[in-house]
Symmetry: C2
């Protein structure tokens, strides 16, 4: 018996790691989109022919789908549409004017309507997240209030559908994640004038939004986050247990260890 | 009869403009701090000898004080303390560990306890602010929803004592002002990847926090804000009427005109 899982893969390490976790999963990429999967056993589909994709999945007795990795918005060529796409095109084109989350939720619904179960990466491979506890180092007592402040901010941000990350240091907010994402946030903190910084080093708190669809835009950290946190003069990172993806976990944790960045998985105290 | 006003001046254009508005005001600077006032009729005081400053003010029959311009935190030399400073030093040193607003509020209280009335720059010279209405250009209808969204964010931020500025574009938040201030916010927006930007151009909304002490950290725009807004690809700026200082008003408005940046003074619709 197979896992019955298909990975709809975009760019980045996550699809690769999911494939390692479930080696018999069916790997699918869309023509023209970047990915890092090995080319063997890879199915290349066209977004304009979703009907063919559904048939492929059913042929392979796929029941579960995980969407993973960065996908650019499809550049649709109507000349290539199959019957299914012709049918949904008016709706789809309207949805493509909206935000990324709306587009992804719409695509999820397309698959669900065909009877597939769309699941989250962390439900396929729980080892992609961290269990509650200190993974590297320890949260200094001096930062307890900063983490609580960051969580207050994240809670308010959630109701406004804004980012998943905040940097606080010594009671001062050094950055709130916006459309540009966590990397841009940490770059911004890194260039903050030293006269505004305190010696203790700030903390990045990163969590899913309240009521976030955990199949879409799951918050993620990885080696790059650790390098940037060090460069930004942070003491460490607090994430939610089980709900934040940790890419290349071994590398991420050992890098944090060597750069003296603590990593704590802990739910907010609200 | 004189105005009975003293300007306690820090760096920047604001003290200069206040002095232009009230030419007979007594100008006071603290030794070692930057300022742009003409040297004639300038009183240089030491922070360690506040008692002498109080006596100077009383001698000149000063009843009102305005604190204006950027001041660095005083580097106090205890060897120079007069009796008054010796008395308050234990409290003052504790306060100096806190945020800027706390320090300024404490200093205001010191003057109030001596019977002086500490007033806001905009109460001295209302022409430093804008009356309600479109000062330059007009807010495009397409940005109405963005301004409403920005105001929602600012309202939440206010309860958390965070910044006074937000940039929104096409329903996406491009930046939230944090400790680094509006210039850093606009620099951050300016380097946003063009793939994340929409063609309509965003809007900067800048207002005092709810319940803000309007004598401290009054939100300010000026020529530099306009140049940076243009560089960040914004359409314009919305500020609160009567409550946001507009430095070098003529220059600011004509620069906005020539760079095609609208300026609207309008209270939030909440």
């Amino acid at each position: 018996m197979t896992s019955g899982l298909a990975i709809l893969a975009g760019d980045g390490r996550l699809p690769v790691q999911l494939h390692q976790a479930v080696p018999d999963a069916l790997c699918v990429v869309f023509e023209g989109m970047a990915h890092q999967l090995a080319s063997e056993n890879l199915h290349v589909c066209q977004f304009e022919r979703l009907q063919s994709l559904f048939e492929l999945l059913k042929h392979h007795e796929i029941s579960k789908i995980v969407m993973a990795g960065a996908m650019s918005r499809p550049q649709l060529d109507p000349a290539k549409f199959d019957a299914f796409m012709h049918n949904i095109a008016p709706d789809f084109i309207k949805v493509l004017q909206k935000g990324d989350d709306t587009v992804l939720r719409y695509v999820i619904t397309l698959f669900e309507d065909q009877g597939f179960d769309v699941v989250a990466p962390q439900d396929i491979a729980l080892e992609l997240t961290l269990l509650a506890g200190a993974a590297v180092g320890a949260l200094p007592d001096a930062l307890l209030a900063d983490v609580a402040y960051a969580d207050q901010i994240l809670r308010h941000m959630s109701t406004l559908d804004i980012g998943q990350g905040v940097v606080v240091e010594g009671g001062h907010v050094l950055g709130i994640e916006t459309l540009q994402g966590t990397e841009a946030l940490l770059d911004f903190v890194a260039i903050t004038s030293s006269s505004l910084r305190s010696s203790q080093g700030g903390v990045l708190v990163k969590r899913p939004k309240v009521n976030q669809d955990m199949r879409v835009d799951v918050p993620t950290i990885g080696p790059q986050t650790i390098r940037q946190a060090a460069k930004a003069g942070l003491s460490g990172i607090v994430i939610s247990p089980d709900k934040v993806l940790v890419l290349d976990r071994d590398t991420t944790l050992s890098l944090a260890q060597s750069l003296d960045i603590f990593i704590l998985a802990q739910d907010p105290e609200l």
